[in-house]
């Protein structure tokens, strides 16, 4: 086979990495290249999307695999051992050079490096580690680095990876143990969760040491995240939300990414023939926000799902679905209701709620005031009371869903 040049390798190894949904460069420490020998800075807050692909996804990091060869045979994965895809492998120095070349031109703000497993978990982890080490030590690179760690690698290697990386992650892959067993037979939920537990401890210890000694090494100051594939196994939305709730609680994850199983070339026969609607993934992200920013418990999100199928509605968002189910909680008085109740109003986000709470300390709010804080009043109106507005009782309304749902023709789906 002819030698592949950098651009050819890059297209193979970026293509192989694109099914991973995370590309965030948020969190962690604030750094600057002033006074250093290299380039790179981080904001410590939310990251920058330097470009968007036509699928609407953000590019903030160079997201690639070191190699797409793999000794494992996970059915959902384009890189699995039995796939006929063309293989390529970067050297550590090629990845370093590419990262710096892209960074200097302001195309990216860091690197997200993962790899298929070659030879052994330890060997693979060492290769990944070498890229991060060289960027940090040889080039004094101060941009963002996210490393995917290998569940079965030696903890000493994982520890060193975490000292170079802003964020580390291991994908839990499937929402249920059975799903993982069926589709990723060489992986184990226990080993994955043990590795996540190890990193959680290392992150906490690192942060704690930093508080005591200014020069103590930190471990992944931007924390850890994970990803679940949606629609490749039989788990329903309620299962997924429950698992997410447990993962957030157990491992203090910063983020969980949901990746709608995407048709891959040369797919395995063990996979469902059809992909899930992308809207399903979107609804799961919305349910994730409800848990992280709106104080919903996983059970409450689960209540918004269909009692029989356990699936969240596709035509309306889970917050609206919850409100329609628990309509006796509404309408909510913007001039009096506690913050937690305001957050339950469909169409009111945390910023708007904050603004309402601040403004009402000084005066009473009218409907047009609320209108200036939100995108649209149409969805809100049935759910709130202002000085000059009171909707008719929601429990009396049969046309409510029709009134607030974006696709009124699906009214007949409503059972509740």
């Amino acid at each position: 086979m002819a030698q592949l040049d950098i651009a050819q390798k890059l297209s193979i190894l970026a293509d192989a990495a694109k099914y991973d949904a995370s590309c965030s460069s948020s969190g962690g420490k604030k750094r600057s290249s002033v006074g250093g020998k290299g380039i790179g800075s981080t904001s410590g807050g939310s990251g920058i999307c330097h470009a968007y692909t036509p699928d609407g996804r953000c590019i903030s990091l160079l997201k690639i695999l070191l190699t797409n060869s793999c000794i494992f045979d996970c059915h959902y994965c384009i890189n699995r051992r039995s796939s006929n895809v063309r293989r390529a492998r970067f050297t550590a120095q090629e990845v370093v050079a590419l990262t710096l070349d892209f960074y200097r031109r302001n195309y990216i703000e860091g690197l997200f490096l993962s790899s298929g497993i070659i030879h052994s978990p330890d060997y693979t982890m060492e290769q990944i580690l070498e890229v991060a080490r060289s960027l940090r030590e040889d080039h004094d690179f101060r941009g963002y680095i996210h490393l995917k760690t290998i569940p079965d690698a030696d903890p000493a290697l994982v520890t060193r990876a975490g000292q170079h990386a802003d964020r580390v992650s291991i994908n839990v892959e499937l929402p249920t143990r059975d799903g993982l067993h069926a589709l990723a037979p060489e992986k184990s939920e226990t080993r994955i969760e043990n590795a996540m537990g190890f990193m959680q401890t290392a992150i906490a210890d690192g942060a704690d040491a930093r508080r005591r000694y200014r020069y103590a090494p930190v471990f992944a100051p931007a924390g850890q995240s994970t990803q679940m594939i949606v629609g490749a196994d039989t788990a329903n939305d309620r299962d997924i939300v429950a698992r997410a709730g447990r993962l957030y609680g157990q491992f203090e994850l910063r983020r969980i990414y949901y990746s709608a199983f995407s048709p891959i070339p040369d797919a395995s026969a063990a996979l469902p023939p059809r992909r899930p609607p992308l809207m399903r993934e979107h609804r799961l992200y919305q349910s994730d926000w409800l848990m992280r920013f709106y104080a919903f418990t996983p059970d409450e999100v689960g209540d918004a799902a269909d009692p029989v199928t356990g699936m969240l509605p596709l035509d309306i968002d889970p917050k609206l679905a919850w409100a329609l189910k628990f309509r006796e909680q509404f309408p909510v008085d913007v001039n009096r209701a506690p913050k937690e109740l305001l957050l339950r109003v469909p169409g009111l986000g945390p910023r708007a709620v904050q603004a309402i709470v601040q403004a009402r300390r000084w005066r009473r709010l009218r409907l047009e005031d609320v209108g200036r804080l939100t995108v649209s009043l149409k969805k809100l109106r049935p759910f709130l009371i202002t000085d000059d507005w009171r909707p008719i009782s929601l429990t009396d309304r049969t046309d409510l869903r029709q009134l607030v749902a974006p696709q009124p023709q699906q009214l007949d789906l409503f059972a509740g």
Binding site: I12, A14, S32, C49, P54, K63, A359, L373
Partner: protein, 270 residues
């Protein structure tokens, strides 16, 4: 009528000094004319208010943050709107917290528009490498919507401290030599290098990281509106990448305007 001459489009310090003195005398907002540079005034009865006393006034802490951003907005009324707000804040300090107030919400929207412009400039500046003898200089052409060039300098200095770089815009330019920042005159797009060999590699990355099974032009266009495309090498690929997708997506892309509009004549994006 008082006339205040500010040094520059983004002269927040000048505005602050003048506003402080005028507000101390409670000069009404409609009695002040804010001017930039030596532009002639058509108000011949105007008296220039150059020697203003330096007074201190107490304002709520986020007022200055709001004012510093709004001063960069391209709306010619910005200095006057801010001064009117300052007078109001002195009587009703809590008004800033009331985002539902009509005038506050106008200024908060201006602040947001400036914030978004700054963020997009951080994101969408694309450097091209220019070899100057032994040295490399990284040069970018960018057209901000608002007067934000100086306000973004800190970000690029922090990020690229050890590089030599220049950012050229229609309103002025910035040059960094690893130690200090200098300002230069307005530039033209043709002053920036026309190509960089790394762009071809970047474009092959952009094309490969896109998943055609998930095409969603609406989401892409919301965050990367077409007005930025002419500065982004990868954007040239979008039509062909989307061509593989559904008819609806193709039509959505085709319907949008392609020609970038010049500074100062664009409709407000927000």
């Amino acid at each position: 009528m008082r006339v205040v001459r500010l040094d520059d489009e983004d002269d927040f310090d000048g505005w602050r000094t003048a506003a402080r003195a005028l507000a101390a005398e409670r000069v009404p907002a409609d009695q002040v004319l804010w001017q930039i540079g030596d532009a002639p005034t058509d108000l011949f009865a105007a008296t220039a208010g150059t020697a203003l006393p330096n007074r201190s006034l107490t304002v709520p802490k986020d007022f200055l943050g709001l004012a510093a951003s709004v001063c960069l907005h391209r709306d010619p009324q910005r200095f006057s709107l801010l001064y009117a707000l300052l007078l109001r804040v002195l009587v009703q300090p809590h008004i800033l917290q009331d985002r539902a107030d009509r005038r506050i919400s106008v200024l908060r929207r201006m602040q947001q528009a400036v914030g978004r412009d700054v963020h997009k400039m951080h994101a969408f500046v694309r450097f091209r490498e220019l070899t100057e003898g032994e040295q490399s200089r990284f040069v970018a052409w960018f057209e901000p919507d608002h007067h934000i060039l100086r306000a973004t300098a800190g970000f690029f200095v922090n990020r690229f401290a050890t590089m030599h770089w220049s950012i050229l815009t229609p309103e002025g330019s910035l040059h960094w030599d690893t130690r200090s920042l200098t300002e230069g005159p307005p530039a033209e797009k043709t002053d920036a290098p026309g190509d960089d060999p790394v762009e071809a590699i970047w474009k092959s990355y952009y094309a490969s990281t896109f998943n055609p099974a998930r095409v969603n032009s609406r989401a892409m266009l919301k965050e990367m509106p077409k007005k930025y495309w002419h500065g982004l090498p990868e954007a040239a690929l979008i039509p062909s990448l989307v061509a593989g997708a559904s008819q609806r997506e193709r039509e959505m892309i085709a319907r949008l305007p392609t020609t970038p509009r010049r500074m100062g004549r664009r409709p407000d994006p927000s």
